[in-house]
Amino acid sequence: MMWTRCDRNAYAGARVITATALTLTLALAAVAQEQPSSRRERVDVLASKSDPGADDWQTEILHSHAKHQLKRLATSLSVKPSGDEATSPVSKYFTPDARIARLMPSAETVLHCDRFRVRRSINKLVPELTTPDRSLDALMDPFKPATGLRIAFKIVAVAIVDQETFTTTTLYQAFGQTADSPIQQNAEWMITWKKGVDPDHPLIHDIRLSAYHDIAAAEFRFTECTGSVITDEELWRTQLLRGGEHWYGKTDAVGQLNYLGHQGIAVGDVNGDGLDDLYVGMGTGVPNKLFIQNPDGTVRETAQASGVAWLDDTKGVLLVDIDNDGDQDLLIALGPAIVHCQNDSTGVFTPVRALRAATDASFYSLAAADYDLDGDLDIYACRYVKTRYGQSVPMPFHDANNGPPNHLLRNDGPAGFTDVTFDVGLNVNNSRFSLAAAWADYDDDGDPDIYVANDFGRNNLYRNDSGRFTDVAAVSGTEDQAAGMGVAWSDYDLDGDLDLCVSNMFSSAGQRIAYQPRFKREQSEDLRRQIQHHSLGNSLFASAGDGTFRDVGARAGVRMGRWSWGTKFVDFDNDGYDDLIVPNGFLTNELPDDL
């Protein structure tokens, strides 16, 4: 242990004592073998295990060199040229005879909705070549009056062509703004690199454009107004402004690793005044929040007075009328118990029962529906890891079947809830690592079906036939074997049937490695594909209308949702077509990712 001064950066001490941990790849590999939370790196780990003779992946070395060069190129592009330089600042990243595609292609407007315009490259991208200077200058042209230019690259595939040459599939994204008007470009570039005289600094020889979008808008669609809604400065500063990393080590026996977050939120009209309110789960030791909305859009926090200032680590929360008395009751997942708090119609709650699981795995997402159509709401409750986070290891990691059971709790009125998981057939394929579930009558037969997103493997689509469930994930094409974290239904294409979005981890590292020919070459093609799917990102299942689905995620362009947690369909722009939002990010700390 080390003692540091309080006024130094809070992390400074940690940096000193665990300098060894900074050899991150090694440290993470060790962690990944032990812990279920290690999604992104597990593909890498598997890769290294699959070929114990190899001490490194040649393509990963090429990747790191190319990434470094692109980072420097991005910096050069972000700096406004002074105009009097003899050589262009970007030419040093290209071979002298490099000819690249026009990176700003001919583009057509594909969406123009109230001063928000999206353009896309016209279908046939003519490989019309030009000099890097000219091409990049044209690409950067829209940003010339802009400020805050931000350019980022992501390499999702590396292929070796010959001793001298390799290619990378590279995602490009640039953003800037003039006054309040944002400009954004996204593209996919196929870059050919030459190792040249200095293999650590390969040079770009050729770029082909495989996809391009740009967005220009008169203003941002969304503006943050948090401080105008939550006006209690003291509450905000002391309890909400800082996140898990702050509270870690600052409460008595956290025990639940609650700094990892995963606390839920629920919107509902708690006091019956016609305005939606917000209930917020918080980590251990910090009370949950009940924000009652005032007529002017601000909130007042009443959790303590309303009897719902729970201090235990809180996962899923739901505001639903359990007893059909016209007010919103609260269901709250506290560890392996769901506490049912009854609303007295004014927004004051009394805990009436706790629905306690037989084993100690915590509940995660909750989803309510009337599965048996008897006029009251039943609860499906997901469970993820068997004991404390990090203590149960999913086996095998890409198709884990050793998780805790989920439960369907039937509402029996004043008698409470009955666990009917077995009786209705939901015990089938019920030992996954489930994070989220969503009800929807996808087959339009009048009763709600349920999709369950599971981490480390296959998902479930339980079709409800008059109260009996059958897992039809495989036959419907929605098994989606990956790191499932969230699920939402919508008829996003307005063809009349319900489609499905499943948020999965996107890992460029995983993709780079899992698609190498040598990756798990001793294994079957089938297993390779299963593992490859793990890093692909979000799935979008378009319904064929006959109970089957096709994953159109790649074609639809929604794969890259990063470390996708809870995806939601939401019509941002009132055009009737649902858009998608994906909150993400896992663990931001003082030091950057090294991977």
Partner: protein
């Protein structure tokens, strides 16, 4: 994970939220930055709601990182129409979860179903919000109630919200004007400062309780007094500033029944220096005893580290100054990481160190616990044994045994 957290490293950190705009042809464009939602928070849940009734869907984000909440106001799309419905069941469940509104407008058929929980750990508003694009009227409106007859409703005007009761009429939502000004959150620098009120008082082992006896300038033994052990080092300027503050107010601390022991955790070779510094900077300000000083030997340091690790559940560094508020019976009540004022110590002594008040609030914030508190004294005892403190280990092993017997 703990190892990772302690290393200060990130893992898929600083990833920006993504937003994909539907291009009406089955494809989407990543517009995360242009939408204004691409914060690099560690975000888990997002809920949608027309919070300000401005005719568009706003967003509440719940993050792991700070700020833990963000409200994103939708700035609206001029010229686009919408209509919204809140359903109430009579024969079906009252929230009408599972009811679907089917709506025909502008030659398109839209459907939305009332849900309770989707995405991840999230529940959005039960209002069904329909964007209508340029369509300024609804041609057909049908509500499919669960296990019940569908209900066709007459023409509705757009750009309004309606309450629909199963089998009954619709009533328009009252108009409302809300102005919410932009208020971006500024993320503060990290801080190590915190006041940690223990959920349950923790008896302290002999190595720590004996510290006071050895202190220079202490009062004669006064078992009925509460104590503050103030951990400091001669190289730590904020510690010296804090001790000067304690010295300045030590009369008030004394009358509040508090005795302060400045415990230098300097390396043995710096002990002399620490005592000299205390003698020159602190002691001259003392009119009477009550603020004493001593130095921590290795066992004392080790015992304190074990206790802090046990309570805070975090291995790794401890920032200075750190103060321990100990009640007259020798139980740890509050840990202060970083500086604390004399006023705060007095207030907390009154709250936690007097028999009549003890236990009114347990934990740093007011609220209710579902699960009771059970300390793992066995692990603590083992840790102390590993640190070669057999006396202290025995102290907790005994408590552990009593605890097990009680169960």
């Amino acid at each position: 994970m703990t190892q990772l957290m302690n290393s200060g490293a990130s893992w898929s950190g600083r990833e920006r939220h993504c937003g994909f705009v539907n291009l009406h042809d089955g494809t989407f464009a990543d517009a995360s930055a242009a939408l204004g939602i691409d914060f690099h928070d560690d975000g888990t849940a997002v809920a949608t709601v027309a919070w300000d009734h401005a005719g568009d869907l706003d967003l509440w984000f719940k993050n792991r990182s700070g700020p833990q909440l963000r409200f994103m106001r939708n700035n609206g799309a001029a010229g686009q129409h919408h209509v919204a419905f809140k359903l109430e069941g009579t024969t079906c469940n009252r929230d009408a979860v599972g009811a679907t509104v089917e709506l025909h407008a502008g030659g398109k058929r839209h459907r939305r179903t009332v849900t309770a929980g989707d995405g991840y750990l999230s529940q959005s508003s039960k209002w069904l919000h329909f964007g209508l694009g340029q369509a300024d009227r609804v041609d057909r409106l049908v509500v499919h109630w669960p296990a019940s007859k569908s209900q066709t409703l007459g023409a509705v005007s757009v750009d309004r919200g309606y309450h629909i009761k199963q089998g009954g009429a619709r009533t328009a939502q009252p108009a409302r004007a809300v102005t919410l000004a932009p208020a971006p959150t500024e993320i503060p620098d990290a801080t190590a400062v915190a006041r940690v009120v223990l959920r349950a008082p923790l008896p302290l082992p002999p190595t720590i309780t004996n510290v006071a006896a050895a202190a220079r300038g202490a009062n004669p033994p006064a078992p009925a007094r509460a104590k503050v052990i103030s951990l400091w080092a001669q190289w730590c300027a904020p510690c010296v500033t804090e001790l000067i503050d304690f010295a300045t107010h030590h009369g008030e601390l004394r009358s509040a029944g508090l005795e302060v022991i400045a415990l230098s955790i300097d390396k043995p070779e710096d002990h002399e220096k620490a005592l000299r510094l205390f003698g020159s900077k602190i002691e001259p300000r003392l009119a009477e005893p009550g603020l004493s000083v001593t130095v921590a030997d290795d066992p004392t340091r080790a015992a304190i580290e074990a206790i802090l690790k046990h309570v805070l559940d975090k291995p790794g560094d401890i920032s200075l100054p750190t103060n321990l508020l100990i009640d007259p019976s020798g139980q740890l009540q509050v840990i202060y990481l970083g500086p604390v004022t004399a006023d705060r110590l007095r207030a907390d002594a009154a709250e936690y160190c007097h028999q009549r008040a003890r236990g009114s609030i347990r934990g740093s914030f007011t609220g209710r616990w579902y699960y009771g508190m059970r300390r793992d004294f066995k692990t603590l005892a083992r840790d102390l044994l590993d640190r070669k403190l057999p006396e202290d280990a025995r102290f907790y092993a005994l408590i552990h045994r009593q605890q097990s017997q009680r169960r």
